[in-house]
Assembly symmetry: C2
Homo-oligomer: 551 residues x 2
């Protein structure tokens, strides 16, 4: 209508005949002609398209959907299934959401797609027929990798097992295929993220990327820079399902043991543990600090008669350690409990907790564990056949190391290589990748550690190891305010028991605190060493280290 | 021997007889006499004490134990029981750890103690007999309040129910009583902490303390300053057992619904949500920020195809809000999920989650709930009889408020008093203390909120309320990078989609992100409004607000 309307009366143009007016009229005529031609072309194209659509028997069965939840989107109400339940749908038509691992046109009449949904992949066939158009085959075979689809198809049993999919016995004969959300060109291929990272260091080596045996090797930094693509790899889904598993098993076991789940503050008014390695923040008009552990608070809750407490929470360490097993932010699995007469009661709980976690990971998370370990060629995690965790005194550990040539004094701390070596010796002797070292030298432990009644140079404290690497540190804590104050003052470096970050803590032991002990596990380390992964960053969704605070 | 030995030959003293030598000999004789007298006295005292000990038939049955785990401590190996199992031990002798609620000497031959262990209290009798000395009665009756004991006694049924203890049918006839850890004079009486705080404000009013109906009223600040004593009150143990309950029920329900437990970073390289109300920290040689919510990360994990995610984690808000329902640090219960065709699928999950939590709190945590509500005279939490959570459109809510005289424009945000009023109206109309408000005005929601297809001024977003107060905010999120960028730029205040804190987030929606929505609950608010507590600080073990970062 608007196009054919005469110029409105009183339009701005003065009505004077002139050369300019003639030129103008000519121009307008030309314009009108062009317009008419364009209209004709448009009409022709529309008719052609309509004819073509009419010819396309599948016109209503494929295409790109409007944004879900937007004005143009229409609900279908069609129920969608999970590929995990595919056995229930043989020879039936199913609709489901999935994404494209790859799509390829075989011929004008045939396209194949590999479709994925969580851990499952299925081969899909789009074959031209009198019910399915060549246009649809072309469309389906050209969907970009990682695009999100809603497909409808028939589940068909196949003769030969399909090698390229996790679902080996069935393929899907596509009936409808809609792009729910198209993927742009990817900065990182998910298939590359499924392969092992080149080495365990970070620095330059990890950033080095190249062609190894014909396939691109993508370094850890590139993966972490594109983490939301990287995490789509099945190996990563498995790592984080296991990480969830460790947390839920931790809660499951300790709940049965009557531990109370607590939430302690992460913002502290004063740096409690000496002030080293602590992040400082602006707290309104004063300074505050991020908690390096829930240590003081979980003990204060024992003093508050909570009896047994556990926490899963963020822990912050401002250590400038750029190693394969340090993070500046990680999840601490902490527990603290009163005991009756002997701190070994606490060790029993800790050891049984870990045995429970390992055993249940081996059953409930076997698939995920196998998937990850197969990529990194990692040995099984050996547990003692006797069911009893090797508990070795520190002095005995020193002896074992000396016997193989290590030079160590009685009360020296172990270096990381020495810890790993001792792990190997223990594995040889006791057949266990998990063990406990008891009665550490007092001098190398925190000021709140209970001295050993047997030897004033030792203490009622312990560490736990997986594959020769520390995952837990714990001890009986001093539950007497006066002894605690004395030990703080005598500590190297000394701690002020009346300091702003310590006074409330020390005072909490003046009102009848029960004897207690506990420990703190690094969740990411448990996952790393369980799976035998070369770098702890792989076990954090968005890892934080001195160099990295994004994404 | 040493005393009677002659001086050694060649001792330093020259052998010259002189006045000095005489004086010296006299002095030494005096010394020797004194020494002998002292020895005699000592011997006499020792004999007297031995005689007295011999007379004290209970000498081995009471006293103060050396510090558990120290050199002087000796293990007994006696098994210790839980008072929860007392029914199993009628007429039997039991040993257990407990603490002293109060102790009083009735006569030289009789003392009473109220002993506590977790939620249980029992009356204990110490009666002199031929087997139990008056000395022991005196010792037991004078043990300081809150001291930790290990007692042994016989469980005896009583005729009249005991009013002053939770265990009404039995009392304990003490046989042995040892102080395991003595309590100093308390800065706060636990019995005072069992009573209601004077009012809900903080400021001056709460610090005002005085005598109300003959009993001291202790304000919230005093309680929080002495939190480890305060937390010993049963009402506090109940509050935190319920807080644990909400968390475990959250995990239980959502695990069954196949949500993945995630752990997102709390240290961010850039302030993501505009930079207001965010804590800044020193991160090595740069600045970093504390996460105000896991919002961006949980959505990025949906983009990473994690499908359904949940998190229980610390949330930090640098809001200078000194109200009864704000904390600067709290626990967020977050979830995010892809949906198929309609964001109301997400609301269904959220509502069913909360219904599950409420129902299970009513059964599994009924005792604890009743204990707390009885102190604060709080009404039962009403749930809809139909089992269907009232889901009210925002515009309908506005209408309800206008009908009772509130002046509001169509797209105005509700004030806190208006929210509370609407809560009352909903309770009257639908009989539910829990309800959902749907389709909020777009302008008052974050930039990533999906606009409503029905009305461009509204959005696919919702809040959830308990007793008229907000506990959850959620929405369908925009899962298209271009639309998201546009909405960010158009937002008031505008957000830069290419900023250091937003670019990775926006880009994660370029690679086929599914439609999704979710919500974030404030854990402390759920506990506060479930129990009807006047102040949110009561639901945080060690609360943080603009004025408080200790203990």
């Amino acid at each position: 209508m608007a196009d054919t309307q005469p110029p409105a009366e009183g339009s701005g143009e003065p009505q004077q005949p002139s050369k300019n007016a003639l030129k103008k009229a000519q121009k307008e005529a030309e314009k009108a002609a062009k317009k008419a031609a364009a209209k004709e072309r448009e009409l022709a194209e529309r008719m052609k398209k309509e004819a073509s659509d009419a010819a396309d028997v599948s016109a209503e069965s494929y295409g790109e959907l409007p944004l879900t939840g937007s004005k143009g989107f229409k609900k279908t109400g069609t129920p969608r299934v999970s590929l995990s339940d595919i056995d229930e749908y043989v020879d039936k038509e199913i609709t489901f959401r999935c994404w494209v691992e790859n799509a390829r046109v075989q011929s004008a009449k045939l396209a194949f797609l590999n479709l994925r949904q969580a851990y499952n992949t299925i081969q899909a066939v789009v074959a031209a027929s009198d019910k399915l158009s060549k246009q649809m085959v072309k469309f389906a075979g050209n969907v970009s990798t990682e695009s999100l689809l809603v497909v409808t198809g028939e589940v068909k049993r196949v003769q030969e097992p399909i090698k390229s999919a996790t679902i080996k016995d069935y393929e899907l004969h596509i009936v409808k295929l809609f792009i729910e959300k198209k993927a742009d060109v990817l900065p990182l291929q998910v298939s590359d993220a499924e392969r092992a990272i080149p080495n365990e260091g970070l620095g330059e080596d990890v950033q080095k990327e190249g062609e190894g045996e014909g396939q691109p090797i993508v370094g850890l930094n590139t993966r972490l820079n594109n983490r939301t693509i990287d995490l789509r790899a099945k190996i990563n889904l498995a790592i984080f399902d296991i990480k969830m598993g460790v947390q839920t098993l931790f809660l499951e076991f300790l709940s049965k043991e009557k531990f109370r789940l607590i939430n302690t503050p992460k913002i502290l008014g004063a740096a409690s543990e000496g002030g080293a390695n602590v992040f400082e923040l602006k707290y309104f008009d004063r300074k505050a600090y991020l908690a390096q552990s829930p240590q003081f608070y979980k003990q204060m809750l024992i003093a508050a008669r909570f009896q047994r407490v556990m926490e899963i929470g963020s822990v912050f360490r401002a250590e400038n350690s750029n190693t394969a097993r340090h993070l500046t932010e990680f999840i601490g699995l902490d527990l603290e409990m009163e005991f009756q007469e002997d701190y070994h009661e606490v060790m029993d709980v800790l050891e049984n907790l870990m045995l429970f976690i390992f055993k249940e990971l081996n059953t409930r998370y076997k698939k995920e564990t196998d998937l990850v370990r197969s990529v990194y060629h990692v040995d099984e995690f050996k547990l003692p056949e006797s069911g009893k965790v090797p508990r070795i005194e520190f002095t005995e550990g020193i002896k074992m190391l000396r016997e193989v040539g290590e030079e160590l004094n009685d009360f020296d701390d172990l270096s990381t290589p020495q810890e790993k070596l001792l792990g190997k010796l223990v594995l040889e002797k006791y057949g266990s990748d998990f063990y406990t070292l008891d009665q550490f030298p007092l001098a190398i432990r925190p000021a709140y550690t209970m001295p050993s009644p047997a030897n004033a140079n030792l203490s009622n404290s312990y560490d736990m190891f997986m594959r020769g690497q520390e995952i837990c540190s714990g001890a009986q804590r001093i539950h007497d305010a006066d002894l605690l104050s004395e030990m703080m003052r005598k500590h190297d470096p000394p701690v002020d028991p009346n300091g702003p970050g310590t006074k409330d803590y020390v005072d909490s032991f003046r009102y009848g605190c029960p004897p207690h002990g506990g420990g703190g596990f690094g969740l990411e380390r448990i996952v790393q060493f369980w799976l035998g992964l070369p770098n702890i960053r792989m076990t954090s969704l968005f890892p934080r280290d001195p160099q990295r605070v994004v994404p």
